[in-house]
């Protein structure tokens, strides 16, 4: 089993992926606002390079990359581990962070000669901190390390929400923080119980020792509940819309596309790596049912929003719901096909395509709001003529959310739909179809307005740079182009999962 092996070749890349952003954080704090932008811009291509190098390393080796910290083997030491899932998440994160960073340059620049402001220093530092924390989540293989990573992620994400310092964003950040505190303490309680019962924290070791006994059920339920609060699954989503809608556009993009997925990633690790094959069908159905409620509720509420950014935030609540169909559908599939089946691939495809589409939509909405000075949908009539590229980016992102071919969202939803039918769980298919129709309704409601008749003189709009519009469009095209790639790279998602599959088969 993986945890007994030593550091693999190029294992140092895993350390670099975590350490590089945090070195940037420390340097930014030491050198101040003017330097922080340059540091972030320097680290972005480096981080992207490291993520791609890890992904290609995993792909070529066909096995997980390992790094044994300090040469101490488990159970005493802690290992970093990159399997196919980590690789996919690392690359997605790097691309979205780079796009958000390039987009944010116009907003968080300290011009030569101008006095330094607080916001730019905070933004660039927190952006790097979010990146480092996410990489730590994806590369850890130890329950307590996960906890530390989650907390770092929360501490970096909460202040991003209230960068503008307006009262309503402060209230949103505080509410986010309170939900996150509840989530983290539940998670930690679960860790304490598991360590008390089994005496190990390493995911690999724990999975070979854990038994379906009451301690394990209580611990895993507590941890899952805590993580659901952080990933904002219905009915624990209350904090998300005001928080994501109030943040600056680049921060909203990162929060909606990546940060909530960090907690989802851990739920998957818990149920498919720590306790492989032991998730009872009823619990899986419950997670799926909460996901279904999120899809329907989030979409209906999104339809009724008067403000563009709140609409997009509620759409995030809905799209997170789709991810939770993975649990009943993977448990429902034939064990031999759990990791190469439609449900597994579809779930991750949904995650990645939503990350690109939602980041594009938040950036586009930010540009629209910047040009018009507000984001009230009813008063944005005809803005599509002034900002054609931004509105196109919004539209392409929206098509992916709806699941219209060709787009990543279509492939994801098609795979999940197929899996639902194959597993004989047709009720999820109905929810997905309804969710797609509702998404169509709220996207077209906005597009009808943006491409419709002008509600005011277009000349009064503030100019926005084409370069920033192009970044939003590039992300949206990324979401669409996922629909064109063959499913060959999906094999990456199975790398490093042989161990888990053996347990399922046993």
């Amino acid at each position: 089993m993986s945890s007994f092996e030593g550091t693999t070749a190029s294992g140092f890349l895993l350390v670099l992926a975590i350490v590089a952003p945090f070195i940037g954080v420390l340097l930014s704090l030491a050198l101040g606002g003017r330097a922080s932008e340059r540091i972030a811009l320097l680290l972005m291509p480096m981080g992207l390079g490291i993520a791609v190098a890890i992904a290609s390393g995993v792909w070529r080796a066909g096995a997980a990359l390992l790094y044994v910290l300090g040469g101490w083997k488990t159970p005493l030491g802690v290992v970093l581990r990159a399997d196919g899932l980590s690789a996919v998440m690392l690359v997605t994160t790097a691309i979205v962070i780079c796009a958000a960073g390039l987009f944010a340059r116009a907003e968080f620049q300290v011009p030569r000669g101008a006095p330094e402001r607080r916001a730019p220093l905070m933004f660039w530092t927190l952006l790097l901190a979010v990146w480092g924390a996410l990489n730590l989540v994806f590369l850890s293989s130890d329950l307590f390390n996960f906890y530390v990573a989650l907390e770092l992620l929360t501490f970096a994400a909460v202040p991003l929400v209230c960068l503008s310092g307006r009262a309503e964003t402060l209230a949103a950040a505080l509410r986010y923080m309170l939900f996150a505190l509840l989530g983290s303490v539940f998670y930690l309680l679960g860790v304490a119980l598991l360590y008390g019962a089994y005496g190990v924290l390493d995911v690999g070791l724990l999975s070979s020792r854990i038994r379906p006994d009451p301690v394990a059920w209580v611990a895993l339920s507590l941890m899952t509940t805590g993580l659901l609060a952080k990933t904002a699954l219905f009915p624990l989503h209350l904090w998300l819309p005001p928080a994501h809608a109030g943040a600056p556009p680049a921060a909203s993009a990162v929060l909606s596309a990546l940060v909530v997925k960090g907690a989802f990633f851990l739920i998957v690790r818990l149920w498919f790596d720590v306790m492989p094959g032991l998730l009872p069908q009823q619990a899986a159905q419950l997670l799926g049912a909460l996901g279904a409620a999120a899809v329907l509720f989030g979409s209906v509420v999104a339809l009724r929003q008067a403000r563009l950014k709140l609409l997009i935030a509620y759409s995030t609540v809905a799209q997170i719901g789709y991810l939770f169909f993975v649990f009943p559908l993977v448990i429902g599939t034939d064990v031999a096909h759990a990791w190469n089946g439609a449900a597994w691939t579809g779930g991750w495809m949904q995650l990645v395509s939503h990350a690109f589409a939602k980041a594009a939509m938040f950036l586009a909405a930010g540009l629209i709001a910047e040009a018009a000075g507000h984001d009230r949908i009813a008063e944005l009539g005809g803005i599509g003529r002034a900002l054609p590229i931004s509105v196109l980016a919004f539209a392409l992102g929206g098509l992916s959310l709806m699941g219209v071919p060709p787009s990543g969202g279509f492939v994801a939803k098609w795979l999940l739909l197929t899996a639902a039918v194959e597993a004989g769980q047709w009720w999820w298919a109905l929810v997905m179809l309804a969710g797609g129709l509702l998404a169509g309704a709220y996207v077209f409601r906005v597009l009808g307005q943006l491409w419709g008749d002008a509600s005011g003189p277009l000349a009064s709009l503030t100019k926005v740079s084409i370069r920033r519009e192009a970044i939003a469009l590039a992300l949206a095209l990324g979401a669409v182009s996922l629909g064109f790639v063959s499913l060959e790279p999906a094999k990456l998602l199975q790398i490093g999962r042989a161990h888990a599959a053996e347990i399922v088969l046993r």
Binding site: F144, Y147, V148, E151, T154, F155, V158, P159, C162, G165, R166, A167, E168, L170, A171, A172, A173, L174, R175, M177, L178, L181, L182, S184, V185, L188, L189, V191, A192, L193, Y195, G196, G199, L201, P242
Partner: protein, 113 residues
């Protein structure tokens, strides 16, 4: 009842009290305090785990003790961040509650501008 069991029951009581406070009280400051009570309960559970897992001739298993130190640092930072947000909210609005909704805050801002 031996020491570990006594501390275990105390820890469970603290977790229960903290959870009750976190869910029931509407004021953010009380929620933050309740989080700290709940956190103390969890740390005490780590202590019980350390005592029960002690090797022969040792006072306790060092791993949970190391985890608790990290946990306390994290909980302290979380509390500091939450209190800082609350203070800032109080400075901006003169209120230290979340009860008046976001829509109200919007209306006020709209009325002033």
């Amino acid at each position: 009842m031996n020491g570990a069991a006594l501390f275990g029951v105390t820890a469970a009581a603290l977790v229960g009290l903290g959870l009750y406070g976190l869910i029931v009280h509407p004021q953010p400051l009380r929620k933050i305090l309740a989080f700290n009570v709940l956190g103390s309960g969890v740390f005490l559970i780590f202590g019980v785990v350390a005592r029960r897992g002690a090797g022969a001739g040792m006072g306790g298993d060092p791993v949970p003790q190391a985890l608790v130190i990290t946990g306390i640092v994290v909980a302290f930072s979380a509390t500091a961040l939450a209190v800082a947000l609350l203070l800032r909210l109080f400075e901006e609005t003169g209120r230290a509650s979340l009860r008046s909704d976001v829509s109200n805050a919007n209306d006020e801002a709209g009325g002033n501008s």
